[in-house]
């Protein structure tokens, strides 16, 4: 972790304005609402796109930091919050609500991480606006051989006090390298 911290800031210096990102995302969600009326379908589409992004983000991350190794899921969650969110989205969520076996936790945000002055239309009140993040985490963790379940449990856009993103470790994906190859 120490080495990771030292070199991290240099490689992640290329940035764009937050609003460019949030407005692009807002425009995408608005388009999905137009294309698919069903909220579940919109959530699914966002999750799928996030998954593709997650695969690429993790590849990118590992190419820069091949030495990143987490032994426990607690460490993984820590890297997600303190490095992933911090460097890509510019803030650190609170990791909390660990279950007794340390296999699941929640990330807490006091706002919706992808929304600014967004109001969900009443007919889309059951949409998880930032659902793309579930896919991003699922995809990124799959690259490091972790199968996880990720879902939103609360969202300030729905009138909740906080936004809560739940992550559950399912299993470690074993390498399936055919015999004779390495």
């Amino acid at each position: 972790m120490a080495r990771l911290k030292a070199s991290y800031s240099e490689a992640f210096t290329k940035k764009v304005g937050t609003e460019l990102f949030l407005l692009t995302y807002g425009s995408l969600v608005a388009q999905l609402i137009q294309d698919y009326e069903d909220n579940d379908e919109i959530n699914t589409q966002l999750d799928k796109m996030g998954y593709n992004i997650g695969l690429r983000l993790a590849d990118d991350f590992l190419a820069r930091y091949p030495q990143t190794k987490c032994v426990e899921f607690r460490e993984t969650a820590d890297v997600i919050a303190k490095f992933g969110f911090k460097n890509y989205l510019g803030f650190v969520p609170v990791v909390d609500k660990w279950n007794p076996s340390d296999r699941s936790c929640s990330l807490f945000f006091d706002h919706n991480p992808l929304a600014e002055f967004v109001e969900l239309p009443p007919e889309h009140a059951s949409l998880w606006y930032a659902n793309i993040l579930c896919g991003v985490l699922r995809g990124a963790l799959e690259v490091v051989h972790l199968e996880v379940e990720v879902k939103f449990l609360q969202d300030v856009l729905r009138g909740d006090d906080k936004t809560e993103l739940y992550i559950r470790f399912i299993r470690k994906i074993e390498d399936t390298v055919p015999p004779g190859e390495d």
Binding site: G17, T18, G26
Partner: protein, 163 residues
């Protein structure tokens, strides 16, 4: 809270991947290239209009088209891409050329020539975004990209009329 968001910055990779997903979603689900480009542009316009509404307070209270173009090159571009447009040219007949020497999204794809063919479609969203900002200023413009030496990109803003 709005202030906190202004101060935050987003990793370019993340933005480029998101933009890539927007692009591939539209090209995957669209029927033909024309419909795809219309849709991408419309999405960009929508984002540009929202952005301009948000920036309105800081914007120059001017009807002068040149001042508005300058405002976009300097303030809006910095707000979006954290840098100003590198060069601005005009033909004095209503066309402005906004030259970005290293446009971030092009830098992220590839320098190879095979991408050049798809670049106009790839840049539809960005062109729409710029167009949307001008629309909100009451300026009807068509924005088109010219990429001959990537990652340099020239956004040509053809102004039709000032309402």
């Amino acid at each position: 809270m709005a202030k906190a968001i202004q101060e935050r910055e987003i990793g370019l990779d993340l933005f480029a991947f998101l933009h890539g997903e927007v692009y591939s979603f539209v090209t995957r689900t669209g029927t033909d290239p024309e419909q795809q480009s219309t849709k991408l542009r419309a999405m960009g316009i929508r984002a540009g209009q929202v952005l301009q509404e948000r920036l309105n307070l800081e914007a120059p209270r001017t009807q002068d088209e040149v001042d508005i173009v300058r405002f976009v090159c300097r303030d809006v571009w910095t707000h979006l891409y954290l840098k100003q447009i590198d060069k601005l040219r005009t033909d004095n007949k209503g066309a402005y050329y906004l030259i970005d020497n290293e446009f971030c999204l092009i830098k992220q794809v590839s320098d190879s020539m095979q991408y050049l063919r798809d670049l106009p479609l790839f840049l539809e969203f960005t062109c729409g975004l710029i167009q949307g900002i001008f629309v909100q200023f009451g300026i009807s413009a068509i924005v088109t990209p010219e990429v001959t030496h990537p990652p340099m990109c020239i956004f040509k803003v053809q102004i039709h009329n000032v309402k």
